[in-house]
């Protein structure tokens, strides 16, 4: 008898609905899965919805793609909600008339934003905060609004308030019914501190307010409260709670709770054994679980059940940690339990804006719960202590005061039991993570995410996962250090900061002050690059620490000859200058070729001839092209609006301007730019470290692309900006790269390793989230203003010129071993 697959129909394509499919697929290929989703998009990350105003696109928030469903044989119906469940015949009917049989039905319909019954709530300018569509409506309405309020000062309400701040609204309010913010997570003292912090950011709070009416002709104009006060507003976002979507359940007479929610047992079964409910629509033990982690756990239980593995859902730890507009807020275990049932330790530091409360069992042995505001670095460890019932040390206040310093925290994490749950969103234990490190060589966060899924949910466990990776590797003797080399115990970024703060300008001094031994071919170029980026001094002054090509300001080639590349900004050159290059190349018998960077390279120069060649080039008005340095190379251009019939703006002029600005700047690796005059992109700017493309309204700026052995396209940083803004962002971007990247790391690799990726980078460069924008611009300005052509300096200094010889005791003699052959009428290096 042929084996027939059983059919599982999933109603709902939100985060939990998607996770259920993922889990069922991982456990068994014997099910036919059909999904009906009300929204028109495949499942996306609703938890990080507020990032939508922070640069993330809808695609960035997607949890998967339509292709994923196709590839896995799941039939996905989007924008087609189920209208009716026929339990007797085990059929579902959708809005667009699709009818499907099920063997098992999983309701993952989630919840909708609760809209209180306030007169006027149907007016224009009133929104809820749940879907991407909601956010798009809010965004476009905000463009013509001055003042907005969020109704609801809970978790979601504060996220929504942040989103409004991100939209740049000059006046933002929070209205809360209870006497404090986040009433279910924090106590009144914590709320007071939170309020004062939010106030500093420009948020106005109104507590103990119940809204009685919304006034306005057709759109909202004022809110009226129960205490007879009122507030003028252009926009209102309602975030006053969630209501489970149980309409379908009610229609087919499944048991629902008196205040909503589909009643389920420990296996998440409804009163119909073939129908399950998971996520925010499910009511377990009288409770609706409004976080994604318990939803995922429910999905796990049902997926297991269908594969004959018995698991139970018995409730879930609702501890949370989040960063609200830069303020850490955490709540774990039982945050509210009070004397005399326990002891409490409270720290209130109004100077630093920190509030910490932990509740300890009366015998002092166990941690019961707590609240952290302003500094939640200890959250992971404290949560593990509560959940694993770890015994407290004799001085428990140490665990609250102790800040997250590397050695201690690392030790703490490694001492957890193997079954300690590190990632609650994906239910990954410490043991699973450590095995992945030991047995599957997953030694990066990305590796662990792929192997175990830890860190792919809310991301809160990532610091702990990092510590586990480091701790496990250390135990295995695989300790990894990000230090420069055996002579310096610092990363490049740390060394740069030390050199900068201590104003050291000489390699030997750097070695004496911060290093050991006598240096080597690894750290000398790293320090040389740092010194150049900080002080912009002529590098020939410290020639013996320079790398192979910088040593003689020319690229060393086969045989020991060198190449010469004068700068041709933007790839534009006059006929006279072309002639000059031709004349010089002929005089010295050099091989000439046009480079990918839109300039001319001349090969076969003896080291003795270099100063003479450059003297003539400088006389003709050329400067060093820095082809030999980990520095700005070229800014390519396309023809642009001066000649091209498609050109929107003058790309050549802009390319020349940018190349002239940043010439001479040294960096962790070479930097290449491009400017295109229209979308056809003839300058290939999207494969550059920075690429600028003309639009109707201005320029789009892309960053962190490269060609080479691992080509990557640059990512969009800003759209439709003017030239001044473009330069400002470039100043910040390049300086940030110079100061923080590891040695010999192109911008693409630097971004790939950056936590938070392009979103974080955009925040730093465009939104100035670290508050360092001004400093970065000033530092770049310093470099730009102190530019000197190093070949001009070399040519005019007799001491420098003396170095350019092959034999120190026969300076006019050329290297007899350096020989050339002929090819196509020019010379070439003899094969080695």
């Amino acid at each position: 008898m042929a084996f027939e697959k059983r059919t599982v129909v999933v109603i709902g394509n939100g985060m939990v609905g998607y996770k259920f499919c993922e889990k069922l697929l991982a456990k068994s290929k014997n099910f036919n899965i059909i999904v009906f989703g009300e929204e028109s998009r495949p499942a996306y990350d609703r938890v990080h919805l507020s990032e939508y105003f922070n640069g993330k696109t809808a695609d960035d928030l997607s949890l998967s793609t339509k292709e994923w469903y196709q590839e896995n044989g799941i039939k996905l119906y989007l924008g087609d909600p189920v209208q009716e469940i026929d339990r007797e015949n085990k059929l579902v009917h959708s809005l667009h008339g699709i009818r499907r049989r099920y063997d098992y039905l999983v309701l993952a319909t989630g919840s909708s934003a609760f809209v209180p019954d306030i007169p006027g709530v149907e007016k224009d300018g009133v929104f809820v905060y749940r879907t991407i569509e909601d956010l798009e409506l809010i965004k476009s309405y905000a463009a013509k609004s001055r003042s907005a309020a969020v109704m609801g000062g809970g978790l979601l309400g504060l996220e929504a308030a942040k989103a409004l701040l991100d939209l740049g609204l000059p006046e933002t309010h929070i209205i809360e019914f209870a006497p404090r913010l986040m009433p279910r997570q924090v106590d009144s003292m914590a709320s007071l501190l939170l309020q004062s912090k939010l106030k500093k950011l420009g948020l106005q709070m109104h507590l103990n307010k119940s809204t009685t009416q919304i006034h306005g002709a057709e759109k909202i104009e004022t809110l009226q409260f129960g205490d007879n006060t009122s507030l003028r507003l252009d926009m209102l976002v309602i975030s006053a709670g969630i209501r489970p979507r149980d309409e379908l359940a009610k229609l087919c007479r499944l048991e629902v709770g008196t205040r909503g929610g589909i009643v389920v047992n420990e296996q998440l079964q409804t009163n119909d054994p073939d129908i399950f409910a998971i996520g925010e629509c499910a009511l377990y033990n009288g409770m609706i679980y409004g976080l994604v982690a318990p939803g995922y756990e429910m999905a796990e239980v049902v997926a297991s059940y269908l594969c004959d593995v018995q698991k139970s859902f018995t409730g879930f730890d609702m501890s949370t940690k989040l960063k609200l507009i830069g303020v850490d807020v955490a709540s774990f275990g039982d945050p509210f339990i009070n004397e005399p049932d326990c002891h409490t330790i409270v720290v209130e530091d109004t100077n630093k804006g920190i509030y910490k409360r932990v509740n300890i069992s009366k015998d002092g042995k166990y941690l019961l719960g707590g609240i952290l505001i302003g500094d939640a670095d200890n959250y992971n460890m404290l949560l593990q202590t509560v959940n694993n019932k770890l015994v407290l040390p004799p001085d428990p206040e140490d665990i609250i005061f102790g800040s997250r310093n590397g050695a201690n925290e690392g030790a703490g994490v490694m001492s957890l039991p193997e079954d300690a749950l590190i990632c609650s969103c994906e239910a990954v234990t410490k043991g699973a993570i450590c095995s992945a490190v030991k047995e599957e060589s997953c030694t990066t966060i990305d590796g662990i995410k792929k192997c175990t899924k830890a860190g792919t949910g809310c991301g809160g466990c990532v610091p702990m996962v990092k510590d586990l990776i480091g701790g496990t590797m250390k135990e295995q003797g695989m300790y990894v250090q990000n230090t420069v080399c055996e002579h310096f115990d610092y990363s490049r970024q740390e060394l740069l900061d030390l050199i900068k703060i201590n104003k050291v300008k000489d390699y030997d001094e750097v070695l004496d002050q911060f290093g050991k031994g006598d240096g080597c071919e690894v750290c000398k170029p790293v320090v040389a690059s740092i010194l150049a980026s900080l002080w912009n001094d002529v590098i020939l002054k410290q020639d013996t620490i320079q790398d192979s090509n910088d040593r003689f300001l020319a690229n060393i080639q086969k045989g020991g000859s060198y190449s010469v590349v004068p700068r041709i900004p933007g790839g534009e050159i006059t006929p006279d200058k072309l002639i000059a290059l031709g004349t010089i190349a002929k005089k010295y018998g050099l091989y000439t070729k046009i480079t990918g960077g839109q300039r001319i390279d001349m090969f076969g120069a003896h080291v003795n001839d270099l100063p003479f060649i450059w003297e003539e080039l400088i006389d003709e008005g050329f400067e060093s092209g820095h082809a030999y340095g980990k520095a700005l190379r070229t800014v390519k251009s396309c023809v642009g609006s001066t000649w091209c019939r498609f050109g929107l703006h003058d790309s050549v002029s802009f390319a020349i301007e940018v190349e002239d600005r940043y010439k001479g700047i040294r960096a962790p690796h070479k930097i290449k730019g491009g400017v295109s005059g229209c979308i056809r992109e003839c300058a290939e700017a999207q494969s550059k470290d920075f690429g600028i493309i003309a639009t109707e309204k201005g320029w789009n700026l892309f960053v962190c692309g490269n060609g080479g052995s691992k080509p990557q396209h640059a990512l969009l940083l800003a759209t439709d900006i003017d030239k001044e803004t473009c330069i400002k962002y470039l100043d910040r971007f390049l300086m940030f790269y110079i100061k923080t990247a590891d040695p010999l790391t192109r911008t693409a690799t630097w971004l790939n390793k950056m936590e938070g990726g392009i979103t974080y980078l955009k925040n730093v460069v465009v939104n100035d989230s670290l508050g360092i924008g001004e400093q970065l611009e000033a530092e770049m300005k310093g470099l730009v203003n102190t530019y000197k052509c190093e070949w001009k300096e070399a040519v005019n200094d007799q001491e420098f010129r003396k170095r350019f010889n092959h034999f120190v005791n026969a300076p006019k003699a050329k290297d007899p071993s350096l020989q050339f052959e002929e090819m196509r009428g020019q010379i070439k290096a003899k094969e080695w």
């Binding site: 080597c520 071919e521 000398k524 020639d543 620490i545 060393i556 120190v808 071993s817």
Partner: protein, 115 residues
């Protein structure tokens, strides 16, 4: 017992060799790389030819030290093969070895010894 006589020839003035770097000395048909390890107050000399791709460039390489014993070394500018300045052994690869010459400095003048 065989006594090997060393003939010293005058290479150059100490000032001619950049501090903590090298310079190439011509002696008859030989090319000798001379290193002024100023940080350690020491001088070294080796053949200028890097045995890897047989190029006359070692004098242009970066010098430094390695290990707890701070053994002095030079790195070839082409592919960064490193060689001990004391034994001439290639520090990464067993197979290569470069010739070492004794150096003495007196009165600001550098002399290299040839056997």
């Amino acid at each position: 017992m065989e006594v090997i006589a060393i003939k010293w020839f005058f290479a150059c003035n100490a000032d001619d060799v950049p501090e903590n770097g090298g310079a190439c000395v011509k002696f008859e048909d030989e090319q000798i790389a001379l290193y002024n390890f100023a940080r350690r107050g020491e001088w070294y000399a080796t053949q200028n030819l890097c045995p890897h791709k047989k190029q006359m460039v070692l004098a242009r390489g970066m010098i430094g030290s390695t290990g707890d014993a701070c053994e002095p070394k030079v790195a070839c500018p082409f592919h960064k093969k490193t060689f001990s300045l004391i034994s001439g052994e290639c520090l990464g690869d067993e197979d290569y070895r470069i010739k070492i010459y004794p150096v003495k400095v007196s009165d600001g003048k550098v002399y290299i010894g040839i056997e």
